[in-house]
């Protein structure tokens, strides 16, 4: 079978009424819904359904060792979470992690992308090198960094002592543990933002640089007046995706510090895991999840507002 028809995409000419296609529109809509059905069924069954059930659960004193929703609790679970020091401190750890990781993951990714973009030969090599860590599973990265952070004999400790610097107790010091986790995360996940920036850079027409060079613009001015403004859509996307990804932190903290030392790195998802699963209190766990969901939702709403205004 050879497909030769190349129909112009609908809406390709804004403002022009596409009269002959109107009759087929209903059929097309039906086909569209038909094709969407498998996705919608899964989306309803595994995302919307459980989310609504979770919301219902949060108003009951449910337990994973009892059947049913349990006794009605009203807003008690929410009151408990909002007045719990442990909930708020874990919430802060998640925010702290986001503050520590988002700026380097955006700025360093941009710098790496700009450097790679300037390379004439062997660009693929640097693309591969910077993206490679991202495809590693978190368990492997966690294991490798645990070894590198080993006190006294670890790689980082021996590097620092070779330089005559005292090595901090990376994962054992409450002041350093989150920084250590953030460092690992930057190394591990920068590849994704790097690739987005690289694609953004390649979308900038070369003529702009040529024209500006003719007009006497130096590299600094070109960067500030061409690269940065034309990358702003990518920057918004990268930043928002990064904030949301960082707010969802759990795995690497759980693997590196188990939430310690003395709870100083426990993120809110680990708190939810602890109360909801380890302590069997699914109702309370659901309430804590809902509060956390509100935060993610607020961040997503900001992104939505920004991207709509720009579009």
């Amino acid at each position: 079978m050879t497909s030769t028809v190349a129909a112009p995409p609908a809406g390709a000419l804004p403002g022009v009424k596409d009269e002959p296609r109107a009759a087929g529109a209903i059929g097309q809509t039906r086909a569209g819904w038909g094709l969407l059905t498998p996705f919608l069924v899964l989306y309803l069954a595994f995302l919307i359904g459980p989310a609504v059930y979770g919301l219902v659960m949060s108003f009951f004193d449910g337990s994973s060792v009892r059947s049913g929703l349990g006794p009605f609790a009203g807003l008690d679970n929410y009151t408990e979470a909002l007045t719990s020091g442990d909930f708020w401190s874990s919430m802060w750890h998640t925010v702290l992690f986001t503050i520590l990781t988002t700026p380097p993951l955006v700025i360093v990714a941009l710098l790496l992308a700009m450097l790679t973009d300037r390379i004439r030969r062997g660009k693929w090599f640097f693309r591969l090198v910077f993206f490679a860590p991202y495809v590693m599973p978190v368990t492997c990265v966690g294991l490798v960094f645990t070894w590198m952070y080993v006190p006294q004999t670890g790689l980082f400790a021996s590097w620092l002592s070779a330089l005559g610097l005292p090595a901090p107790a990376w994962l054992a010091d409450p002041n350093w543990a989150m920084i250590a986790v953030a460092l690992m995360t930057v190394w591990w996940t920068i590849g994704f933002n790097f690739v987005l920036y690289l694609a953004g850079l390649q979308d900038i027409p070369r003529e702009l640089y040529e024209a500006s060079a003719v007009d006497g613009a130096g590299p600094g001015a070109q960067w500030w007046r061409i690269t940065v403004p034309l990358l702003s859509r990518t920057t918004v996307l990268v930043t928002m995706l990064q904030i949301i990804a960082s707010l969802k932190v759990f795995d690497q903290i759980y693997l590196l510090t188990a939430g310690g030392p003395n709870y100083s790195t426990r993120p809110v998802i680990e708190y939810i895991y602890d109360v909801g699963f380890t302590d069997f209190r699914t109702g309370y766990g659901a309430a804590a999840s809902m509060l956390y969901f509100v935060v993610i939702l607020a961040v997503s709403a900001v992104w939505f507002a920004i991207s709509r205004r720009r579009a």
Partner: protein, 451 residues
């Protein structure tokens, strides 16, 4: 784009055939466990499901034991399922029982048993059923058998006791003059005795004398504290976890001693993690190691010259060290008939009969026939710390207590902070009281209402 199809076959026909094949596969799959699960028909009567949480060396040993049982009982099909240790396992076990798809036999930690029994997730074991399989109290380690009871009713059959013990490097300890003529560690008594032994080891190694894990492993920190504090006669919880009975003076004494060894005397590292502990002990940079006996295979694999002894009695009171037990339970199942119960108990007995294999992982078999056998008595270093199993005192009962629980995390994180020099003992005790009070005052999410 060109796609070629076999002559005379339209795309529609090809897709149709594919769909039919799918339906055929579904129909054919009705005999599979998945289809049986969906249809709720359940596996047939001669097939038993057995859940455990053992991976690594323990996992290999458990597979070997199950295989031996299969060889001895070809008529019983055992479907063994290994799940991730700790919370994932206990969550799935509880949900399987509530969802009415429980395994026939399952492993539990005895420290978790009170909560499982409270939640009505385990089937009480009748004395005559147990006796029919030769499972009577006199044939087990007494402490473990008793811990298998809740409210006087037997719920679990213990497989082992796994105490917190003291490993020692024979080469380092020999140079330090800590071994007797037969090459065994001379008895260490009192805190002064331990400090002297650690100092002697430190002189040999030129660094630390001993090690216990501090970072990112609250369970080990709790086990070390429980061993010290328990020797002072201290208890943490009472009345099923609703009352905190922490003795501040005793806790402070235990914590101060742990801190003295790390922060003040620097005889043990105050900043060390799991892999660091293994590295220090395996490379001979310390003489003594405090850890669970389940680490024995690690050092046997590393060809470390070592042996094991019970943690010394440091405070002169009744001997105590942290211990827990793996045990076999029959999760509650309304459809379990007499025959299935009988077969399940046959599996339980079969695993116990083969528990010499289990002892390779360092655990003391609870079944006396194996524990007293010549083969086990010859097993080194396992035979050295049987007394520790007999003196076992388990984690206090409470819905938030037991292996892998938040109780262990709360206790362990505070102890870790003291050992690392980040918290003073008094501040750690205040933190413990505050965090425990949060749990003790809450209604238990186990038992009570619901089915």
């Amino acid at each position: 784009m060109t796609v070629s199809y076999p002559q005379g076959t339209s795309r529609r026909a090809a897709l149709g055939a594919l769909g039919l094949a799918g339906v055929g596969a579904l129909t054919a799959g009705c005999g599979s466990p998945i289809a049986a699960g969906i249809a709720g028909t359940g596996p047939n009567a001669t097939s038993l499901t057995y859940w455990n949480l053992f991976t690594g060396g323990d996992g290999i040993n458990m597979v070997a034991m199950t295989d031996r049982f299969r060889a001895a009982h070809p008529s019983v099909h055992v479907d063994a399922v290994t799940l991730a240790w700790g919370t994932p396992y206990y969550t799935k076990l509880a949900l399987a029982v509530i969802g009415d798809r429980p395994p026939d036999v399952a492993i539990t930690h005895l420290s978790r048993l009170p909560t499982l029994a409270e939640g009505n997730l385990v089937e009480p074991l009748r004395a005559d059923d147990l006796a029919a399989h030769g499972l009577t109290g006199d044939r087990f380690t007494a402490a473990a058998w008793r811990k298998g009871q809740v409210g006087g009713q037997q719920y679990a059959v213990p497989l082992d006791t796994h105490p917190f013990v003291m490993f020692y490097r024979t080469d380092v300890c020999k140079k330090a003059g800590l071994l007797d003529a037969t090459g065994k560690l001379k008895p260490i008594e009192g805190t002064d005795g331990l400090v002297a032994a650690l100092s002697a080891c430190a002189k040999v190694t030129g660094g630390y004398g001993g090690v216990v894990n501090v970072n990112a492993d609250p369970a080990t920190c709790w086990r070390w504290f429980d061993t010290l504090y328990g020797q002072l006669g201290g208890q943490v919880l009472a009345d099923n976890g609703t009352r905190i009975v922490l003795d501040d003076a005793k806790a402070e004494k235990a914590l101060s001693f742990a801190r003295e060894l790390t922060v003040q005397r620097k005889l043990m590292p105050s900043n060390i993690d799991g892999s660091g502990v293994t590295q220090l002990f395996a490379s001979g940079k310390v003489g003594l190691l405090f850890d669970g006996e389940w680490q024995i295979p690690t050092y046997q694999g590393a060809k470390t010259p070592f042996s094991v002894a019970p943690v010394p009695n440091l405070f002169g009171g009744t001997y105590h060290c942290f211990a827990d037990s793996h045990a076999l339970i029959l999760p509650r199942n309304g459809r379990r008939d007499a025959r299935r119960r009988d077969e399940s108990l046959t599996l339980v007995r079969g695993l116990l009969d083969n528990s010499l294999v289990w002892a390779k992982g360092g655990h003391i078999p609870a079944f006396r026939e194996v524990q007293d056998s010549a083969a086990f008595r010859k097993m080194q270093p396992q035979a050295q710390y049987v007394p520790a199993a007999k003196a076992a005192i388990y984690d206090p009962a409470g819905w938030y207590s037991g292996a892998g629980s938040d109780f262990e995390n709360i206790m362990g994180f505070a102890v870790s902070a003291v050992e690392a020099g980040q918290l003073h003992p008094a501040a750690a005790i205040a933190q413990l009281r505050q965090k425990l009070a949060d749990y003790a005052s809450k209604p238990a999410p186990v038992g009570g209402t619901g089915s």
